[in-house]
């Protein structure tokens, strides 16, 4: 049985891991490569590296860091942040990234999704969607969740899949940093409707939140950062709990 995935997210700035509460207040949480290896040993199913300042500061994600991670890590990983061209993607995949994630650049130039899917295959194209509820409507935001667009989240999600996205990383800006649980309703709606895996992100605070996002939220994977970085929840404990609760989990094959 295909298992649900637990994905720690390492937010990167200047080659260091950071985590922002609602992406604003940043705190240092260590060396990305060391942290990545630790998570893999603890049973993380996959990792995401997001250069969270990249889009704002127009920086390119460091190919060097990706190379170092790829050499050390024996599980899949995704790289995102400031990726806006086929050339960016080609360099990151060549350095050893398994997937790339695009966000603002997909909104700005939706054809980029088609181009990347055609050139590199849908399996490595993740489209990240940052969503925030405004006056009862779920609206796509860009630039780390700061800039609202005129796109409705469900319609945009359908469009990115039609254009060739292989996976959606859905971050609820209303839930991110709150530790009050994931956006289960929206996640479930997208997961039921779309033929690609949905990674839910934003709001993880307790172990039952993960259970909820896999059951009620029908997510294929759940992503979190600070609760792992600050050791509030251990990955082995979390996966053990979820398995007990009847969620398909990969438990061995970690040491």
């Amino acid at each position: 049985m295909l298992t649900k995935r637990i994905i720690p997210c390492l937010d990167i700035k200047d080659g260091k891991t950071v985590k922002g509460v609602n992406f604003v207040e940043l705190r240092d949480a260590g060396d990305p490569v060391e942290l990545a290896k630790l998570y893999a040993e603890q049973g993380a199913d996959e990792l995401v590296f997001l250069d969270i300042t990249a889009t704002v500061e127009k920086r390119k994600t460091l190919v060097e860091l990706v190379s170092r991670v790829a050499a050390e890590l024996n599980i899949p990983f995704t790289v995102g942040g400031g990726i806006s061209s086929k050339e960016d993607v080609s360099a990151l995949l060549a350095a050893g990234a398994d997937k790339i994630s695009i966000n603002s650049s997909a909104v700005k130039n939706p054809d980029l999704i088609n181009e990347l899917a055609l050139e590199f295959g849908s399996q490595c194209v993740v489209v990240a969607i940052d969503t925030r509820n405004i006056d009862g409507k779920d609206i796509v935001h860009t630039h780390g969740g700061r800039t609202p667009t005129n796109l409705e989240t469900r319609a945009w999600a359908r469009e990115v899949v039609a254009r060739g996205a292989g996976e959606i990383l859905l971050t609820s800006m209303d839930h991110d940093g709150t530790k009050a649980g994931f956006a289960n309703k929206l996640t479930a709606e997208l997961s039921a409707e779309l033929a690609v895996p949905i990674i839910a992100s934003g709001g993880a605070g307790t172990m039952p939140h993960f259970k909820d996002v896999f059951t009620t939220g029908k997510a294929d994977a759940a992503l979190a950062a600070s609760i792992f970085h600050f050791k509030e929840i251990g990955i082995p404990d979390l996966k053990g709990y979820l398995k007990e609760e009847g969620i398909a989990m990969r438990l061995n094959n970690v040491k």
Binding site: L2, D45, A70, I75, G121, Q123, C124, A195, D220, V254
Partner: protein
């Protein structure tokens, strides 16, 4: 004790997406593989790994251009196909109706759309037989990303179930193949690579 670092391991060089990852995985096992599409180099290697991420018809066109479609099936040493490598070692793929290398007399089909496709993530490997899986626990998980699968057949030495049961691994003579990505499958994946190196 086997002396991994003295082994001459070749990775077939072609337009596949995961050559770099397979190289890194071997380096973590202490091996410095050579990546080549040269007939002499491939014939001289102790073991050959045939990786793959991508689309079947494009990959086959590339292999034909370089004569690798004739060379690979004629190899005598242990060969391990990975992911698309497994599919290309079969007879035919539904992916753009592509005739493949025909090492395994098996057809590759697209998953019926009864669940999300591609099959992406960690899944159980079951009914494991033979030296490739020695030392793996009965609850082994490997990492998969694929939309097409090889049917179960007399060559099947392990199965995985997603929508339907299919060949997780194939074996015939000196040819081995794995649908999952051992280079991305944690310790279980490393163990399989290590077992292959010991064949």
């Amino acid at each position: 004790m086997y002396l991994a670092h003295l082994m001459n391991i070749a990775i077939v060089k072609y337009n596949a997406g995961n050559v770099r990852s397979v190289t890194y995985a071997l380096q973590r096992l202490g091996i410095e593989p050579c990546i080549s599409d040269d007939a002499e180099v491939l014939h001289a290697a102790d073991k050959v790994i045939f990786p793959g991420v991508g689309e079947a018809s494009t990959a086959m066109a590339y292999l034909k251009q370089r004569g690798l479609d004739k060379l690979i099936p004629a190899l005598q040493q242990p060969v391990l196909g990975v992911c698309l490598g497994l599919q290309l070692m079969c007879r035919h793929s539904e992916e753009n109706n592509t005739p493949c290398l025909g090492i395994f007399d098996v057809d590759v089909k697209r998953f019926p759309p009864k669940d999300k496709v591609p099959h992406m993530g960690w899944n159980r490997v079951e009914k494991m037989q033979g030296p490739l899986f020695e030392g793996l626990s009965q609850e082994a998980y490997l990492y998969y990303v694929h939309s097409y699968y090889a049917e179960e057949s007399r060559y099947t030495i392990a199965s995985t179930e997603y929508i339907l049961p299919y060949s997780a691994s194939l074996h015939k003579d000196n040819f081995y193949a794995l649908q999952a990505h051992p280079e991305k499958s944690g310790k279980d994946g490393e163990k399989i690579l290590e077992n292959f190196l010991k064949l």
